[in-house]
Amino acid sequence: MAAPQIVMQARGLVKRYGQVTALDGADFELRAGEILAVIGDNGAGKSSLIKALSGATIPDEGEILLDGRPVHFRNPMEARREGIECCYQDLAVAPAMTIAENLFLGRELRREGVLGNLLRMLDKKKMLEIAVERMADLKVGIRSMTQAVETLSGGQRQCVAVARAAAFARHVVILDEPTAALGVKEGNMVLELIRRVRDKGLPVILISHNMPHVFEIADRIHVARLGRRAAVLNPKRISMSDTVAVMTGAMKPEDIPADCLA
């Protein structure tokens, strides 16, 4: 069996905030075409890890490799240029703006010719067309891309946020708690969408506290603990309660049966 292709990798990441060490030599590995869940207690270093991978923070030490090539993101824009799209919990959308505007926020298209070059006029028609096409691609069933995001239900809103990341990512999609604060039905709607994103061939990093959701959808589970990677687990082999035990430290990484690791 050929070794799995590694899309994104991090080695020995360290991040300190004053006296607090948020990342203490964390490793990370994302394979092509997988959904990798990242779980961990509060303060385990999972948000610092995600921030480092998405350019929202600069690690003090360690290296990040994208397709085996070292990258140094100084801000989220640079990560985006490399095709890494991130969707943050509760913070992903501008409610009073339309769905199409939200999809294109920060990557607006200008008109051709004088109107675009001189007056910097936006090509709203083209952005709308692409928005309709990309959302149809992801099978997000929302009738009008010109309605304000605040007119949508919580689940639909979250779908827009996920689609925002997925529609433009070429490399990696990072989702931070996409199903938090959603009802069962709406949560499932978002999980379905995440599966479709993976099936399009994009690897997904999913940060979640919701164990049933993690076990339902993840191909592998990265457990963060005390600023490091405690283990990478196979959700098809290990139980939910053992996973929580690894996460809280009740089960030592060396005590995990070898076939449960991934």
Partner: protein, 319 residues
Amino acid sequence: MSTVKDRLPPLSQLGPFIALAVACTVFGLTTDNFFTAANFSLILQQVMVVGVIAIGQTLIVLTAGIDLSCGMLMALGSIVMTKVAQDFGLPTPLAILLGIGATTLFGLLNGLLVTRIKLPPFIVTLGTMNVAFAITQLYSSAQTVTEVPEGMTWLGNTFELAGNPVAYGVVLMVALYLATWFWLRDTASGRHVYAVGNNPEATRLIGIPTDRVLLGVYVLAGLFYGIASLLSVARTGVGDPNGGQTENLDAITAVVLGGTSLFGGRGVVLGTLAGAIVVGVLRNGLTLMGVSSVYQVLITGILVIVAVTVDQLSRKGGR
């Protein structure tokens, strides 16, 4: 299915036009001279200073901020431009540029304090309001500057349009509104102003330099106040160190009446123009009715509260 209700702008955006219609009807019925071309020409001239200040104020309110210094900066600008022309005999264009430069610099100061030190705009501009007022008084020795070069009052002149007098300054005001409207509506940087007001954290995480957007908004607002300084000199023919006091609140009133949400991220700059005209019509109509200016202040105050209430209720209901 999209219904007619979906297509109608929300109540907060129709508000200024409803208020305008009501005010015009009342004044048209109760006074003789209200519905005359000459009177409307006068109202627009009275509105042009507040109108241009209110453009800058709209930009700041769209980012969920507020600028309490707007009127005082306008007064500072008009004192600087008239005084340097009078005292040093500087050429008029240079004097105008210095005046506009002073207000723009204060805009930059407001912006830096808001973005770098992360102070609330309310407190920052409360401070700069007083600083600007004091500088204006000190620099002018609290004296009105009466020697104003002709070039500085040109915008107050009128030309005939279909037999009605129109001030050049009014044309400038309308042009500035249209330009700002286009910028906010049809360019990426304009949309980013809305995004920052809507959800600053998301906008930052998306990778838009939110601090640069905010700083730009405050500087631009300062520039608009400077242009308003010139219009004020043109309209009154003097540099008035005590100017800007009614304009300060009237500009905020115009923005709020115009349907821009104080919570940021929602509003249309053309609504502000309507709001400014409502304020102008009220002041003019009440004067024609012989109502004392204290009642004008009273009515403006009540109007602001009503407008803010509509904003708050429509925000809750629109969830």
